[in-house]
């Protein structure tokens, strides 16, 4: 669209002289853009914070032993049926874990990978007892996966011998302090004493019922020859499932899971939230466009006389249409700018009064540019209707009818 000087000259003057109308339209567009910007930033921020809480201090990809292997119901001699037999062999460890670990560490998207010897234990102290998750990890890599640098509330991240980093839930329940010794029974009936050298808070209550040990100590405690899983963190949390897929194609003898597969409900909830927010935003935009179309449409009718004489004086159909398109585009651009500012202020105020400490706004360029671009496009599309009307208007019609 080549804009000739007079088109802009007349369009701007029409906007300027129809001040009340222009301000109303601008306010409409600005509020619409602000709502869209605010809504998408809010929902984006909420989702980011939910995801961060879910997987921020947890592994993203898990390599696990293959599912249990069914065993024959026949006895070894092939004749008698032993009805007391367990019908499958539980497959609880990965023996050749080093090759998987090396492979994971060789991938560029993997930020940390750690072998884990995990199992259940029973913590016994005084008259109380409770089941806990026992996790043996490599100090460095494991600390990165569980964000010890951020989540450690007391003590240090070192793990060796009897040193144990204990989850906050256990510390509170069993009144443990740094340096305290406690007893954990294993599934084979024996047990060991460990010393609290660190206290960790992983957020969720369930995740905090955990005792971290060094990998070797946990293996001997749980009676494992290999490891029970290999856990990894990736750079982009949403690429975890894709990586899991690739690993599945690569390795058939282990089971591979991603955090997404383990949190289907959360993801479904997030998706429906995004979906409903998109629908709301679409209708906000639609309503604005309808408003612009009707107001500019009325303006085109009101200005029939002016357009008629302008056409007599040499404005061609294209020029007449441009006068209205420029008005629509200008309204869209100005309204978007004001709307973005308004949305930002709205977001800052919201955080200040309602949301400190809960979650932040996701003030991303995408959230900012998308509603603005959509509003400009919507305004332009809306002004097509009066533009067409202006283009079709015959000067003689106006002059003949006064």
């Amino acid at each position: 669209m080549i804009i000739r000087p007079y088109e802009a000259h007349i369009a701007f003057r029409f906007l300027l002289k129809g001040r009340g109308q222009t301000l109303l339209l601008l306010a409409g567009i600005a509020v619409g853009v602000a709502v869209q910007f605010f809504l998408s930033s809010l929902i984006g921020g909420l989702q980011l914070s939910l995801i961060e809480r879910t997987v921020g201090s947890a592994p993203h990809v898990f390599i696990l032993p293959a599912d249990s292997i069914p065993t024959s119901v026949l006895a070894d001699d092939g004749a008698a049926v032993d009805s007391r037999r367990v019908l499958y062999t539980e497959n609880r460890e990965i023996l050749s874990w080093k090759s998987y670990l090396d492979f994971l560490k060789g991938l560029p998207e993997v930020t940390s990978a750690c072998p884990v010897a995990g199992g259940q234990g029973l913590i016994v102290r005084g008259g109380a007892s409770d089941t806990v998750a026992v996790k043996g990890i490599e100090p460095g890599e494991g600390a990165r996966i569980y964000n010890f640098d951020r989540n450690l509330r007391a003590g240090g991240p070192e793990l060796s011998g009897d040193r144990a980093i204990v989850g906050r839930a256990l510390v509170e329940r069993f009144r443990l302090e740094l340096g305290d010794r406690f007893f954990v029974r294993n599934s084979r009936g024996t047990g060991d004493f460990f010393t609290v050298t660190g206290i960790v808070d992983l957020g969720a209550e369930q995740a905090n019922a955990v005792v971290f040990l060094s990998l070797d100590r946990a293996r001997s405690f749980l009676g494992l020859n290999g490891v029970s899983s290999i856990e990894a963190k990736v750079r982009d949390v949403f690429a975890a499932e894709a990586l899991a897929g690739r690993l599945r194609a690569e390795f058939s003898r282990v089971k591979i899971e991603s955090w997404q597969a383990r949190n289907q409900e959360l993801l479904t909830a997030l998706r429906s939230q995004s979906g409903s927010s998109n629908i709301i935003q679409f209708f906000v935009l639609f309503a604005i466009s309808l408003g612009i179309a009707s107001v500019l449409g009325i303006a085109a009718v009101q200005k029939s006389r002016q357009l008629g004489i302008l056409k007599a004086m040499g404005v061609d159909n294209r020029g007449a249409a441009h006068i209205f398109l420029i008005q629509g585009l200008t309204l869209g651009l100005l309204g978007s700018l004001v709307g973005i500012g308004l949305g930002y202020v709205l977001g800052v105020l919201f955080i200040k009064y309602f949301g400190p400490g809960t979650f932040g706004l996701q003030l991303e360029a995408f959230n900012l540019v998308t509603p603005a671009v959509l509003a400009v496009l919507g305004s332009a599309a809306a002004s097509l209707i009066p533009a067409r009307r202006a283009a079709r208007l015959s000067p003689i019609e106006v002059i003949r009818n006064g």
Binding site: Y6, F14, Q306, L310, M313, G314, D316, G402
Partner: protein, 248 residues
Amino acid sequence: MAEIIAVEDLRKHFGEAVRTEVLRGISATFERGAITAVIGPSGSGKTTLLNILSLLESPSSGRLVVDGRDFSAGDINAFSAYRNAHIGFIFQFHYLLPEFTALENILIPHWIGRGRPPQAMIDRALALMKEIEILRIKDKYPNRISGGEQQRVAIARALVNEPAIVFADEPTGNLDRETGFAALEAMARAVREHGTTLVMVTHDREIALRTDRILELVDGRICKSFSVVEKGESGARELLQDRSCLVE
């Protein structure tokens, strides 16, 4: 003087099912630099003729040549640039743009044709305003000035691009007699000074008698066509009294 507009057997009808013949074969020429009055009773087709001559409406048939260029057929929209550069318009209802001041209204044709007016052009517009005595209202909006002043603004606007021809449709029809005459005097003076051709539709015989030539239409045909200059004022007046066309 050479002719600037020539029409030959110009016809115009409206409607297909119910056909209304408005112009039934007009042949005439208009001299360069002359002021011509087109007169006739209501419904005689004078405004339609003016609209066709000024390239705002296409004829149904016939030949139309303006300043050496054939406009007998073609799209009105395609003639926009030509109208802007060569034709000025003055309408009965002024049609000034209420969003622009008097001076800005006068400069609109320049904006349309050649973009932002340079200072020389603004000076020209101001000189034109001084010439027709509306300089003091240059920064006023149309709704703040009188009807006579509005019409003078429209006259200045018609002349600003120095068109070859100005078409005026009942330019004083909306004004009282005195104001109308004064506006007309101003227009005639400006037109003669710039050597512009003026074709004017009017129902006022007194106004027509002050022009160079009179073309009377009756029922879509030319009834009389004569030079006021050649016949003299009394001769012209006598010719106008003759009602033979109407009787026929």
